[in-house]
Symmetry: C2
Subunit: 342 residues, 2 copies
């Protein structure tokens, strides 16, 4: 591609934003000017890109008409404050926070629902879904017509980095304190996360669901084109730095043909299928730092021939967020480059 | 109770066996002579009981006619080798390994299915179910008639201690190595468990299920008296020393009345219901060292009014194993003391 795009990354000092900048470089994304943005607190910090150190500036002062495309990776509140400003300036955007109305900024996982791009109009707005929804979509989209899923039950053991960089520091600090037999003083979390599992990755609403669980359920239905799917989701936090683990159970319309499931998974784009007997993928041992979503433990039901059980491991910050956003941008450019450049 | 029983604990040097000996003391179980048994390797070691240090002896040399009741907590192979010998000597037994035929040694959780004792004949044989089945039974038995469960989906994040004392040492060692930036050399597990989640707590069979998953499914159906229940189970290992966490989803026959579920759980014996808004129980923060099974995150389905979701935390070695076995013994004595003593 000879033409290049001017890009903004909002949240460039965060877990996802830093990875995003790395991936733009790794994949030789056609970046013209790159604007790194964060809050006033980080303004002046710098982030490496292609051998140079780029200064981070305050998003509040940013003129979005300077860029063609903005990645929003600074949380829901920041998207709510600045997405309209970007759109008004004619800037396309990919949001990673889930703050935008799905009708207005549909979820995209290039391996799962590329056709959803066709209905967009400029300036383009897309959502890169929650990390669990990205991983699930990569694995389940190729199985959709085979399974005709009726129910989906997901138990996600999320890495602490899914709560941002402060959560990573907190797990390291708590672990060191416990191993050194010092008294534990929780800070970022309200209780012990080291050598423990927390039942909910965020605060619950009045019905007891956390926003990530609702987000995951809504997104996976959209990504798979299955509005009637009955989803049950629990997003817990494990004492893991990076890499999500998902135990997944699908109830299909009919008895599941496991051989065909295995064939499909072995060929699925963006998916690494661990099929050796007795082996299985893990978040840290396999997925972290990789572009693929890993799947294993493919097995039927104990009592129900229409059930399929799976284990998924994926890098939450990479394929779950930054990489999927960049791949979405690549697809967007392929479709609409001329319109984005005007 | 003025009469006392002579007791053997097989596996007395292990995670469960040591806890069992402690609990016999704590609960003032009517112990006459206490025989602590293990393999030849530990013979000569000692374990404290009521202020004395009792010697551990080799089970291979033990004469079971010396005791009224034996607790088997040394793994399936040991139960298979010695349970018949115990029965032939007229000794009643409670097995914790799951090696015995359920028809011959039914699963008992006193809070869930005490009536199952009525059908036994001397010498008595009982199974104390897997830790996850004990926890699930305590929580679901009081809800049975309310829910009429059709499907049960369980994702268990088990503590490494569920794999025995060597697994505990291994998690500590790996964690220390990683925090000290030393190269990781897995020993007990075949890969990194520190800051990681392993997809299966044991080796899978030809269908991909591990024995703990099959055990859990079979036991929970028996404990709840629901042979038709469709169970899906994943037993993963979290980097947690003690305390299991279970994400549970039940599909009921009809829309779930959450208020009545909460009322029942608040009154359920052996269950601690964490109902404060936003709060939830954890394995380490709540359950470990406690006699109760903790439950929280009681919520309906996202898409299905007939669904109930729960989070359970329980001490795998205590209520999940040793305590349940001792409580089962207490109930057995209450029913059949005179027959056990003859
Ligand atoms: N982490 C994941 O695995 C993951 C996966 C999928 C989606 N996401 C989503 O991605 C977003 C970022 O998550 P993260 O994990 O990268 O969080 P993070 O590590 O905590 O980083 C947050 C970033 O947002 C910036 N920020 C915070 N408040 C701001 C403000 N008022 N104005 C401008 N910038 C602000 C921070 O900049 P300062 O340095 O100035 O504080 C930082 O760059 C969230 O919406 C999250 O839900 C995360
Ligand atoms: N850990 C849990 O949370 C849990 C929960 C429910 C049920 N269970 C079941 O309880 C049993 C014990 O588990 P654990 O976690 O306590 O294991 P553990 O910590 O590894 O201890 C194993 C015990 O068994 C003894 N043993 C091993 N091989 C033996 C042999 N050939 N002859 C005699 N004794 C032998 C060991 O004695 P030495 O010192 O001589 O090796 C030790 O006392 C298992 O069947 C397990 O499935 C465990």
């Amino acid at each position: 591609m000879s033409q290049s795009l001017d890009i903004a990354v909002i949240g460039a000092t965060g877990t996802v934003g830093e990875t995003l900048v790395q991936i733009l470089e790794e994949r030789e994304f056609p970046v013209g000017n790159l604007h790194l943005l964060a809050s006033g607190e980080s303004a002046g910090a710098s982030v490496p890109f292609k051998g140079r150190n780029l200064r981070v500036r305050d998003v509040a002062d940013f003129d979005f008409s300077q860029v063609h495309l903005a990645f929003f990776a600074a949380g829901e509140a920041v998207t709510r404050s600045f997405a309209m400003r970007a759109t008004a300036a004619g800037c396309s955007l990919i949001d990673l926070s889930g703050a935008l109305d799905p009708a207005d900024a549909p979820s995209l996982v290039p391996e799962a629902n590329p056709a959803s791009l066709d209905a967009l109009t400029a300036p383009y707005r897309l959502t890169s879904p929650s990390a669990s929804a990205v991983a699930l979509a990569c694995v389940l989209a190729p199985l959709g017509d085979l399974l005709k899923p009726q129910r989906l039950s997901v138990m996600a053991s999320l890495a602490v980095s899914s709560r941002g960089r402060e959560a990573v520091t907190e797990l390291a600090r708590q672990t060191a304190e416990l191993l050194n037999a010092r008294p534990l003083e929780p800070r970022f979390f309200d209780r012990q996360i080291a050598f423990n599992v927390l039942a909910q990755a965020g605060a619950p609403d009045a019905d007891g669901h956390i926003s990530l669980e609702r987000r995951l359920a809504g997104e996976i239905k959209q990504l798979l084109g299955l509005p009637e799917l009955r989803v049950s989701a629990t997003c817990a936090l494990a004492p893991v730095f990076f890499g999500d683990s998902l135990a997944v159970s699908v109830v299909a319309e009919q008895p599941v043909d496991l051989e065909r499931v295995r064939e499909r998974l072995a060929k699925a784009p963006g998916v690494e299928f661990v099929e050796e007997e007795g082996d299985y993928p893990t978040a840290v041992g396999d997925a972290v730092g990789q572009d693929s979503v890993y799947v294993g433990r493919v097995r039927g039901g104990l009592d129900d021939p229409s059930e399929l059980n799976l284990w998924i491991a994926s890098d939450n910050a990479r394929k779950g967020a930054a990489l999927n956003a960049v791949q979405s941008a690549e697809l967007l450019i392929k479709h609409y480059l001329s319109k984005i450049l005007t």
